[in-house]
């Protein structure tokens, strides 16, 4: 089972006694403010977790995988996530099977 916004709001309700309405709003705003900062071109650094960085990609040649037809992939700005040292070392000791990866085509 994946962690969702509903689980996160539930945690705020259970562990901090925040009312459900406030908890739901706060989780929503938490992600919205990160999106807004990135949209403004601002890097987001959450210590203990990681950094969301922006990268500008130049146009490059691509292909329609179905037809094989060549089409350029236009220049764009993308978000990348770099996990912080603390998160990386916690994951490093993970030995179980990660949940099955869904590969969307």
């Amino acid at each position: 089972m994946a962690l969702t916004k509903a689980d996160m709001a539930e945690m705020l309700f259970e562990e901090l006694g925040m009312n459900k309405r406030d908890a739901k709003d706060l989780v929503e705003l938490f992600f919205e403010e990160i999106r807004a900062a990135l949209e403004q071109g601002e890097q987001v650094k959450l210590s203990g977790f990681g950094n969301f960085d922006l990268r500008n990609k130049n146009q490059r040649p691509g292909r329609n995988p179905k037809t094989g037809q060549e089409i350029p992939i236009t220049a764009r700005r993308v978000v990348t996530f770099r996990a912080g040292q603390k998160l990386k070392s916690r994951i490093d000791v993970f030995e179980g099977e990660a949940e099955e990866e869904t590969n969307w085509v």
Binding site: M1, A2, L3, T4, K5, D7, M8, M11, L12, E15, L16, M18, D22, A23, D25, L26, V27, L29, F30, F31, E33, I34, R35, A37, L38, E39, Q40, G41, E42, Q43, V44, K45, L46, S47, G48, F49, G50, F52, L54, R76, R77, V78, V79, T80, F81, A83, K86, L87, K88, R90, I91, D92, F94, G96, E97, A98, E99, E101
Partner: protein
Amino acid sequence: MTKSELIEVLAHQQTHLPYKDVETAVKKLIEQMSDSLSKGERIEIRGFGSFSLHFRPPRVGRNPKTGAAVPLTGKYVPHFKPGKELRERVNAS
């Protein structure tokens, strides 16, 4: 934007909540996300993105100083895939 700036912005918008509560909440949320990934559990936030672990198979590495071959065990690394809304908003501006 740093974690403390994010707390600042959120506290400013939710003025009926004590600053301290917003601060604790943000720290708890980040902790919960870290805990979840550390257990191999995915995080899925519609419109924002998903976090998962990718497996890096064992390989033979090299000590850059001596050039000696060093066997490295497989490991998991965190991976983030931005969601549609985030991708579009970041690319539009």
